[in-house]
Amino acid sequence: MDNQPYLDSFIAALLCLDKDTAKSLVDDMMKTVDPITITNQLVVPALEFVGDCWEKGTVALSQVYMSGRICESLIDEILPPGNPLRTDQPPIGIAVLLDHHVLGKRVVYSALRASGFELIDLGQGLTARELVGLVRKHQVKILLISVLMLPSALHVKEITRQLKPEGVKIVVGGAPFRLDKNLYKEVDADATGDNAGIAVEVVNRYVGEYYATI
């Protein structure tokens, strides 16, 4: 079926924070397709589109944040946590290193959950040592790190040094990584993403790679 008209209306609804219209579009699609199709063909492309627009400067962060929250709650209704249809995945963790600014983490968390993933929220204001400990404890295989301050971004190196040899994939993001495109390489992270949409793309790829190697 051609979902483009749904997608266009869904994006328009998200950008004006119109949860009711967004919900009725999802309900409508539910009559003909399963929740996973809705996630993959409606929610993920919509969030990627919104993220892209933010980078281009045509959409604001508040719209990215609200879109993520709307999608997260819609998907939670049709695909509750623990539903066997949810994406089969290794443990994925998300944390804010050193900083106490949680909005970046919140936005990425919502986008990933709305895309069918489950995430372990490892917290914020964590030192490198604490974060490494938590990753080992929860056997996290894909670690998402959000920061806002440059020094915090530079401290990511202490984490990559310890966890990469253990096979953990490390994805970083937040303002410093957006403003300096080479910074993620400087701290030896595997990948970065300028917006939450890209976080979904990268996690999808690493989940695929993970199952290909075990």
């Binding site: 400067g57 604001a60 508040s62 909005l103 301050m149 020094p151 530079l154 300096d180 910074l183 400087e186």
Partner: protein
């Protein structure tokens, strides 16, 4: 050619005139601690430290202004909130102190003259003024009433407040406006030459232009025209193009420009009206060598320098702790080399 003081150079730029060269303001807030061998926390604990730090930095780099700003979370400390210090970067605000909506109603506005945290800034500005006389401008800084709540209550809760509880949002704005007015007046009275009004939440990077018109714009209209001194609106590296005309309408004398936007385009629309500050990428420059810096500075001056109305700075209004002395020297050297008026345009160079 007459000998210009830093003050004359900056005033010329703000009056859209060409002085001897493009002014360069180095927003060094943390580096004073390095100069004095103090921890960042210790450095910010006394006005005397900040003054001595600013003097040493001035002797070293000859910036066109003293910075009378310590850090943004200082305002949070004044409200009784927590500040978290680190060894290698700016202090941050800790756990937000407005935990529930009712806390807004009971929030007390600090008295700017007697609050011990704000006093450090005011004393530093007063002492800097005695040294600077009328030769060197002193930059004062306030958080806009509209951007301060991110630190007061947390970003997600604040966005929820703006979208879902507009009445309560305005109650918070009333209190923050009262504080911001008093804080701005006090810094100007202590000797600040101009006030940088940090307002990144108004940036289209953070909220859509329609929402800005209903919120941040109306707040700015209640601060900027009343201020008895020049106000420079700074988006802290957020974008401004989609709201440029509205920003100009607030009566702002200057705009801090993001590295993500084309300063030539902004200059085209602001020429003769509003002075631009910017826009070297403060995060990226950590890894620029002298040659790269020279190239970037030269390009920037050619795009925005002619006709005055331009002060060279970074895109954020603060150079990170990780920026080396050599990088700072390279900025200054490049401005001295390529910023002499009249500016050589690319056409002249190739033509």
């Amino acid at each position: 050619m007459p000998q210009y003081s830093a003050m004359q150079r900056v005033v010329a730029a703000l009056s859209h005139e060409e002085a001897d060269r493009v002014p360069v303001i180095l927003p060094l807030t943390l580096h004073g601690a390095k100069e004095m061998g103090l921890s960042i926390k210790d450095y910010f604990s006394k006005a005397e430290h900040v003054v001595e730090g600013q003097i040493r930095l001035m002797q070293k780099y000859h910036s066109d202004a003293y910075i009378g700003f310590l850090h943004a979370p200082l305002e949070i400390a004044a409200f009784g909130g927590e500040v978290i210090y680190v060894e290698d970067g700016p202090p941050n605000s800790g756990e937000p102190f407005l935990r529930k909506h009712d806390d807004i109603l009971s929030m007390q506005v600090p008295d700017v003259q007697t609050n011990p945290h704000l006093r450090i800034t005011l004393d530093a500005i007063t002492q800097l003024k005695a040294i600077a006389t009328d030769q060197i401008p002193i930059v004062g800084v306030v958080m806009s009433p509209f951007s301060l709540p991110v630190m007061q209550m947390g970003f997600d809760k604040y966005l929820d407040l703006i979208y879902d509880h507009r009445d309560l949002f305005w109650k918070l704005m009333e209190k923050n406006i009262e504080f911001c007015r008093a804080w701005t007046d006090a810094q100007l009275a202590a000797g600040a030459t101009a006030i940088v009004y940090f307002d990144p939440v108004s940036s289209p990077t953070i909220i859509p232009p329609e929402l800005y018109l209903e919120t941040g714009f109306r707040v700015a209209q209640r601060i900027i025209p009343q201020t008895k001194g020049a106000v420079i609106t700074h988006m802290a590296s957020g974008r401004c193009l989609p709201i440029l005309d509205d920003l100009i309408q607030t009566g702002t004398a200057g705009i801090g420009v993001s590295a993500e936007e084309d300063i030539a385009e902004i200059k085209g629309r602001c020429r003769g009206k509003v002075t631009l500050f910017g826009n070297l990428n403060a995060i990226e420059m950590r890894n620029w060598d002298a040659q790269t810096m020279e190239h970037k500075v030269r390009q920037l001056i050619q795009k925005a320098g002619s006709g005055g109305g331009f002060i060279l700075m970074d895109n954020h209004g603060e150079l990170p702790w990780q920026i080396s002395d050599d990088t700072i020297y390279a900025i200054v050297a490049a401005v001295h080399k390529w910023g002499q008026y009249p500016i050589e345009t690319p056409e002249q160079r190739f033509g």
